[in-house]
């Protein structure tokens, strides 16, 4: 009971956090010196159009008098919480923000998904290997590699990797490896044809097209590798420490004393305990993805949410910015709560000690 009340407590705490975070966003967008109206019109400033825009943005009333800040604030919050994101002004004139975001979500999700997978598949086993074989050559290599990998700036790694697989780079062969694919740009077409209809026993069923699937994965893999790089390093490092700590614990020795096999010790006793410190690192990947996707999408020329954010920011498109931040913050909080739920599932002590 106490375990689930812990989750409930975290859930309740998420509400003020969301409100507070959005308030900060509001303050930056509406209290700062940013002027969306100038951004829209630029040089061709036309007072009457500007006034109309101010009215549409809810900055000015119909009679031309300014709307008080607190009213703007309430309006801002209500719109976001009711998912009424309004329309974009700068990025795509008079397109609804929801449509805009929805159109860009697929490449970003595809990129994010594979970056998580790459980080997990490479980082965790290496970290575990290093932890199980401490102070060996392999351990030093994995640990040092993890540290350096983690210290590499995403944007630099992206620049180098994009350079290496471009024409004349030393990884040029990657493009034509197995099947010829692009590596820079949005794999939109490939993603949309990911599913093909297969007639199975007379019923049309959607099936993953293996060739397209492979092509789409291959396309996104360099970008995903970059985006997942720091998480990979983190997972390696924390995984190593966690395993090392667990393997030297008394309960592992007790398990060995009762004759449990080494494999079973690692898979049952070490793994689950080591997951406790690893969980925030793995879930924290999402947080790193948000910031990282801006740079990686820009360098790999992927038309996703990160690029949308950048164009919205440069264009001072406050509605798009507000909506994107609302989505990002909400997602972060959702992931935090998933993390809390996973925590209570993995570690029965959660919620017990804090009370």
């Amino acid at each position: 009971m106490s375990r689930w009340s812990y989750v409930l407590k975290r859930l309740v705490l998420a509400v003020p956090v969301l409100v507070f975070a959005l308030t900060v966003t509001f303050m930056i967008l509406y209290l700062g010196p940013l002027d969306p109206v100038t951004a829209v019109f630029g040089q061709e400033y036309n007072p009457s159009d500007a006034l109309q825009l101010r009215k549409d943005l809810g900055l000015v009333r119909a009679d031309g008098s300014p709307v008080p800040l607190w009213e703007q604030y309430i309006d801002f919050m209500v719109r976001l919480f009711t998912f009424n994101f309004g329309q974009s002004w700068v990025v795509a004139s008079e397109v609804s923000v929801s449509t805009l975001i929805w159109n860009k979500v697929l490449p970003t999700v595809w990129l994010g998904f594979w970056s998580v997978i790459v980080a997990l598949v490479v980082g965790l086993p290496l970290g575990f290997y290093a932890g199980l074989n401490p102070n060996t050559g392999g351990d030093y290599l994995a640990s040092f590699g993890g540290i350096v990998w983690r210290a590499m700036p995403n944007f630099w790694l992206a620049v180098i990797l994009a350079g290496a697989i471009s024409q004349g780079g030393f990884l040029e062969g990657y493009r034509t490896w197995i099947i010829e694919t692009q590596v820079i740009g949005t794999p939109r077409g490939t993603l949309e044809t990911l599913l093909m209809d297969v007639e199975l026993l007379g019923i049309a069923m959607p099936m993953v097209d293996p060739t397209n699937f492979f092509a789409a994965v291959k396309w996104i893999l360099p970008a995903a590798l970059v985006l997942g790089s720091s998480s990979m390093g983190n997972e390696m490092r924390i995984g190593r420490t966690a395993v090392l700590e667990t393997i030297n614990s008394n309960y592992v020795e007790t398990a060995r004393a009762k004759g449990v096999s080494s494999w079973k010790i690692v898979s049952k006793h070490v793994f689950r305990n080591a997951m406790v410190p690893l969980l925030p690192v793995i879930m924290g990947e999402f947080y790193l993805l948000i910031g990282g996707s801006v740079l990686v999408e820009l360098i790999f020329n992927i038309n996703g949410l990160g690029r949308l954010f950048i164009s919205a920011a440069f264009g001072a498109d406050v509605t798009v910015l507000g909506a994107l931040l609302f989505i990002f913050v909400t997602m972060t909080l959702v992931f935090n709560i998933i993390q809390d739920i996973l925590y209570t599932m993995i570690d029965p002590r959660v919620g017990y000690e804090s009370e």
Partner: protein, 570 residues
């Protein structure tokens, strides 16, 4: 172990005598070691007094402008709602405190000192702009006066001769004939060799000085400390045995040295080579005309670009057509990449330190308050921290940078101040997380209750009894976060478009952006070298953090150390 017993065995008479004396009296009783140390130290300082003092003044000026800028922004934010409500008297008071006045043309002065106001070559505010300066005693007045004074002082100290400077060991010269000897360089050496001599000497000097500063601790320990052993000795010993931490320390130290001696280290200066290329000239031997010619640096740069194809490349460790040596090659504009990197290290370090300082201050204050008062204060802190963490830091940074484009704040230190402020105000929860546990631990200690019981004032209790305990953790996690800040600053500059550090001030990320399209060409160095440097510096800050953590908290060492402990068993 044995040292503690030695302390107990020491003649009690001597101990009690020693304990009563202050450090000053102890030195007076046995002045020789202190004097020897002091003499050597004074000599070391004297050799480079100009450079060190000007560095110190720059730091002081940064602090002055930084602190006043923060207060100014806060006051302006406070003024806004009163202005909206039309409460003129309150707005007037705030304006008076700030030192701004209003005319029909607007508010004056509109900018902070370090922003727009033009300066003459001495760095003083130009006469024509003087009337814009605040005239009555106020916040901005203090800022203007102090900054003006410090500028003058800086200029003066820079004119004090130092041993290791470009005039004493010059590396820029020209050949007198096709194969002829070099002229104007140090001892007539090749520019590469002359530069190498100067750079090596700078590092030798820096390491010597560092060694001597550490030596002070040994002198103190050997001759003036009362106790034969303190826990700090163990910390120092553990740090001595920590190779990884030492690696971090050495690289961080070299990075800091680079920032401090930036004007001396480069083959040329950022000012001459990057910022005002058409106010400086360079002499070279022109093989076509067969004589020594003189051109503007800007023209020379245009002929020394690294742009991948054909002969447009000046790679690392090579000369350009104008007899200028480029240790890291040139960038796409023909500017010297090494000079660019060296100058860029200053701004990286500056942004990192300000941001970490601010974060650490907020984190320490909040964690101490919540550990002391617990309950609601703690809950509020948790919510505030969670909210700030929930905001994607890098995106906020972009948003704020965009929002403040054109605002005077975005011009302070080429935009570095704004970045540092955003980092400081959004980065504290990460440090706070690290020190919250230790703070609560120390709040449970009996000496805190004891301090409460004899009526010690709360701020004093926190400062004297709680803060020292969490300071080490702040140092550890501060060092580790510094890497992230350096990366994010360069990432912002990489994005450009008014984000990050504004050109022409060099920033590493901008070099990567410039060299972006040449990675797979012969001009690979432009993007690669700055990236490798970032990785190295960030790794070093992490390693330093690891080292300090293992030294102050040996428990964590056991987890990493492995099997050796098993031998004890029982």
């Amino acid at each position: 172990m044995s040292t503690t017993t030695a302390a107990e065995d020491a003649p009690s008479a001597r101990r009690s005598e020693g304990e009563d004396l202050t450090l000053r009296e102890r030195i007076a009783a046995n002045p020789r070691p202190a004097l020897t140390w002091g003499a050597v130290f004074a000599l070391l300082v004297a050799l480079e007094f100009g450079a060190l003092a000007s560095g110190l003044i720059v730091l002081t000026r940064t602090a002055v402008v930084g602190i006043t800028a923060v207060i100014q922004v806060a006051l302006e934010a406070l003024r806004a709602p009163f202005e909206a409500l039309g409460l003129e008297p309150v707005v007037g008071i705030v304006n008076d405190v700030l030192g701004v006045w209003e005319t029909s043309q607007g508010r004056f002065p509109v900018t902070s000192e370090a922003g727009d106001i033009s300066r003459d070559t001495v760095g003083k505010i130009a006469e024509s702009k003087r009337h814009d300066a605040p005239k009555t005693f106020s916040l901005l007045w203090v800022q203007y006066q102090l900054s003006d004074f410090l500028f003058g002082l800086q200029h003066f100290t820079e004119s004090v001769p130092t041993l290791l400077n470009r005039e004493v060991i010059p590396n820029q010269g020209f050949k007198t004939g096709p194969a002829g000897p070099w002229k104007n360089t140090f001892l007539g050496l090749e520019p590469a060799a002359a530069w190498a001599v100067r750079a090596t000497l700078v590092y030798v000097y820096a390491f010597l000085t560092m060694f001597w500063v550490f030596k002070a601790y040994n002198v103190y320990r050997e001759h003036y400390r009362v106790a034969d052993w303190t826990p700090r000795d163990d910390v120092v010993d553990r740090l001595r045995g920590h190779r990884w931490g030492q690696f971090g320390f050495v690289v961080v130290f070299m990075f800091v040295t680079m920032a401090v001696f930036a004007p001396t280290l480069g083959p040329t200066t950022a000012e001459a080579n990057i910022e005002s290329t058409y106010q400086n000239e360079v002499q070279y031997f022109d093989s076509e005309s067969g004589q020594v010619e003189e051109v503007f640096v800007g023209q020379a740069n245009a002929g020394a670009k690294s742009k991948g194809q054909g002969d447009q490349n000046v790679g690392p460790l090579s000369y350009d057509d104008y007899g200028r040596y480029h240790p890291f090659g040139t960038d796409v504009n023909g500017q010297d990449l090494f000079t660019f990197m060296v100058a860029g290290s200053r701004i990286s370090l500056f942004v990192g330190l300000i941001a970490i300082g601010l974060s650490a201050f907020v984190a320490a204050t909040l964690s101490l308050l919540s550990a002391y008062y617990k309950g609601l204060v703690d809950l509020a802190t948790v919510i505030a921290a969670d909210s700030v963490i929930a905001l994607p830091q890098f995106l906020i940074l972009i948003m704020v940078s965009v929002a403040f484009q054109g605002h005077w704040l975005s011009r302070v230190y080429s935009g570095g101040m704004l970045i540092a402020l955003v980092f400081g105000l959004s980065g504290w929860p990460f440090l706070w997380r690290a020190v919250r546990g230790p703070s609560f631990q120390v709040a449970e200690e009996e000496w805190i209750d004891a301090a409460k019981s004899f009526g010690q004032r709360v701020p004093v209790t926190m400062r004297k009894h709680m803060l020292p305990y969490i300071l080490g953790y702040l140092l550890v996690y501060g060092s580790m976060s510094l890497g992230g800040i350096i990366i994010a600053t360069s990432a912002l500059s990489f994005l450009g478009n008014g984000l990050g550090i504004n050109p022409p001030t060099p920033e590493w990320g901008r070099a990567i952006a410039a060299g972006r399209n040449y990675v797979s060409t012969q001009s690979w160095h432009i993007a690669t070298i700055p990236g490798v440097m970032i990785v190295l510096v960030v790794t070093a800050f992490n390693a330093l953090g690891d080292g300090i953590r293992d030294a102050i908290d040996p428990e964590s060492e056991g987890a990493e150390g492995g099997g050796a402990a098993a031998g004890g068993g029982g």
